[in-house]
């Protein structure tokens, strides 16, 4: 399998604090890759670096062998890399359907058009409805997104992320704050949407991680101490000490 995303010796410092230390990681095309690690390990910073939200201090990031580390967020997004947020980040005053539809506009080549009406675009609205069905949000398509329940807002968050048809999806703690049944539903959804895509996921719920991931990377204090299959990661001595061990002792 080819690597779709390559992080080459990247570092990130905020002032004197080095958050990511000389980190290298390859994500294979089509795999489901989980990044785990204790709080403050730099998982969210890593996401911000890959998506261009923060700029690197050193190193390089390649998406399909093209350097993206100096590009703006929107340019990276247009290259087919989309992300969700740990804290729900939707358009609260717009309806649920409009949230999804906005996520699709650029990839449907509508861009900044001032000469076309979005309501008249059959292709766009059909795709929106399809995705709403997939997310089980069709019944509340026309209410403002800010009024949705928390779990539904998390689903919408994922929906906006995949709406562009991006082939690399990065989800930042998609099940945080959910009940067990809501988590199960979210995992089913994530499995479904990541079928023909590459998935990078940050997650605290180990059940979700071992259920979903093809490979797992363990991030501790800005460094990846291990990248392997779930079974191997579970057996790894260093990981047990640094992370899983502490979980088990609790």
């Amino acid at each position: 399998m080819t690597d779709i995303l390559k992080l080459l010796n990247i570092s990130k410092s905020f002032g004197p604090a080095q958050i990511i230390r000389n980190l290298s990681l390859n994500i294979k095309k089509g795999e489901r890759h989980a990044i785990i690690g204790p709080n403050g390990a730099g998982k969210s910073t890593l996401f911000h670096l890959i998506t261009g939200h923060h700029k690197l201090t050193a190193g390089k990031i390649l998406l399909e062998n093209e350097e993206i580390s100096s590009l703006d967020t929107h340019t990276i997004s247009r290259k087919g890399l989309a992300r969700s947020f740990q804290v729900t980040n939707i358009f609260p005053r717009m309806t649920v359907a409009e949230n999804i539809r906005c996520g699709m506009l650029w990839s449907k080549n509508l861009k900044y058009s001032i000469f076309r009406l979005v309501d008249k675009d059959k292709n766009l609205n059909d795709s929106t409805n399809d995705l709403l069905n997939q997310l089980s949000l069709r019944h509340c398509a026309h209410i403002p997104a800010g009024l949705l329940s928390y779990a539904d807002q998390r689903s919408l968050e994922i929906g906006i992320t995949i709406a562009s048809g991006a082939n690399t999806i990065m989800l930042d703690e998609p099940t945080s704050g959910m009940s067990n049944s809501e988590t199960a539903r979210a995992v089913t959804l994530i499995k479904k949407i990541s079928e023909k895509r590459t998935l990078v996921i940050v997650e605290h719920d180990m059940g979700v991680v071992f259920d979903l991931a093809d490979r797992i990377s363990v991030l501790v204090y800005g460094e990846i101490i291990c990248t392997d299959t779930p079974e191997k990661v579970r057996e790894n001595q260093a990981v047990q000490e640094a992370y899983l061990g502490t979980e088990r002792n609790r």
Binding site: S77, F91, L117
Partner: protein
């Protein structure tokens, strides 16, 4: 084709009613007032494209309105002196629109790098600069006097000279219906939707592939373009343009209209422009304190009804669309609330007028006419009456407002249960 006609039918009806207005209100005063309303509706809707749709608070939107006005006046004068080739007067707003667009592109490029407070401050800076320019470059702007013009120039196609006010009214009507309709349809385009998205959550908008700055810049430029078209008609209507039309006064006026009307709804600025223009023309003759009342209204709306008048109307949309009979239950508490507000208003107006009267006129005469009634501004009784009105009103409002709110909450909860069942 049928759906197309259906979708523009409400526009045709409104335009039709507006076209019939001069038959009813045919005085010169009414016609100038209606013409002014048309121009300011255009300007206010254009401004709301920036503020309401795009989330950019500008204190300098009169720049595009006023500069387009200056250029239009020069074009009219040029045609009159035959130094410029003739163009039909009907097309003058297109020149204004081009001026507005060009300025919007340049100033927008410089100011949309930032949003929020920084954007507002930059717009204020540009506004002050534009006002200074009009006073410094006397050759083009003619200083504080401004420039006169004569709109009756060149040939008169179909016998229309645009001399009579009613002809100008129909010209303004044509352009305002056309531009307002265009701006309405703009809200339905990919650009219009993303403009809202950037307003609500610029961070996420960038993550779905949009250059946030480009969206803002486009909104800014288009808004300036429509403001320019309105400025052209403003100059044509008055046959004069002065420095105040590019200044903070004009920028503030449009902000007031849009905010009082309501930023959140497309109809808001239209309501605001009609209402304030009417009050401006009528109240200004009745009371000297008109600007004080305007300020009080603005402050009250910002504090208690941030959605503006349109927001108050839109609140009842779900009730009207599901169960109109629920509205009947609202009438009584609403009338009680309105009544107690009016009493307070009465008292406030009385006090303000008497204060104003005493500060202007020598203390010897004390008779002041308020609400067609004579009051003695020197007598203690008048003051007691008005203060009592205010105090009673405050007590009444404390009772009636929660009741009105309660009945609305009740109606909405009924609507919600009807929708979900």
């Amino acid at each position: 084709m049928v759906t197309f006609i259906k979708s523009i039918s409400s526009w045709i009806i409104i335009a039709g009613i507006a076209a019939l207005l001069p038959l009813v209100f045919d005085s010169y005063f009414a016609l100038t007032l209606l013409s002014k309303m048309g121009v300011l509706i255009m300007f206010a809707v254009a401004y709301n494209m920036l503020l309401g749709q795009g989330g950019m608070l500008s204190f300098g939107h009169a720049i595009y309105f006023g500069f387009a006005g200056y250029v239009s006046v020069h074009v009219l004068n040029g045609i009159g002196e035959e130094t410029l080739p003739y163009i039909p007067i009907v097309l003058l707003p297109i020149i204004g629109a081009i001026i507005g667009l060009c300025l919007g592109i340049i100033i927008g490029y410089l100011s949309t790098r930032r949003a929020g407070t920084a954007f507002a401050m930059i717009s204020l800076g540009f506004c002050e600069m534009a006002t200074a320019l009009t006073l410094i470059f006397v050759v083009f702007f003619n200083g504080e006097d401004g420039i006169q013009t004569d709109r009756v120039v060149g040939p008169e196609p179909f016998g229309v000279s645009f001399g009579p006010q009613v002809e100008v009214y129909y010209l303004i009507l044509f352009w305002s219906v056309l531009t307002v309709a265009l701006m309405y349809f703009l809200t339905k385009t990919p650009f219009g939707r993303m403009s809202n998205a950037v307003r609500d959550n610029p961070e996420r908008a960038a993550f779905i592939g949009y250059n946030v700055r480009h969206v803002r810049w486009l909104a800014f430029s288009l808004s300036a373009m429509f403001a320019g078209a309105a400025g052209s008609l403003h100059a044509l209507n008055y046959e004069h343009i002065g420095f105040e039309s590019v200044s903070l006064i004009q920028s503030g006026a449009v902000l007031f209209m849009v905010f009082i009307g309501g930023v959140g709804h497309f109809l808001g600025p239209i309501i605001g422009a009609i209402g304030l223009t009417y009050l401006d023309s009528t109240l200004a003759d009745i009371t000297e304190a008109w600007l004080l009342y305007l300020g009080l209204t603005f402050a009250t709306i910002v504090a208690f009804a941030p959605g503006g008048l349109a927001g108050l109307i839109v609140m009842h949309g779900p009730i009207v669309s599901t169960n109109k009979t629920l509205l009947i239950g609202l009438i009584k508490p609403y009338l009680a609330a309105i009544g107690s507000t009016l009493l307070g208003l009465l008292g406030t107006i009385g006090i303000i007028e008497m204060l104003y009267f005493r500060s202007l006129i020598s203390k010897g005469e004390g008779e002041v006419v308020i609400f067609w009634t004579e009051f003695n501004a020197n007598g203690i009784l008048s003051w007691i009456i008005f203060f009592a009105a205010i105090i009673i009103s405050i007590f009444l409002c404390k009772i009636t407002y929660p009741k009105a709110r309660e009945s609305w909450d009740h109606a909405i909860s009924v609507v919600k249960s009807e929708i979900s069942s």
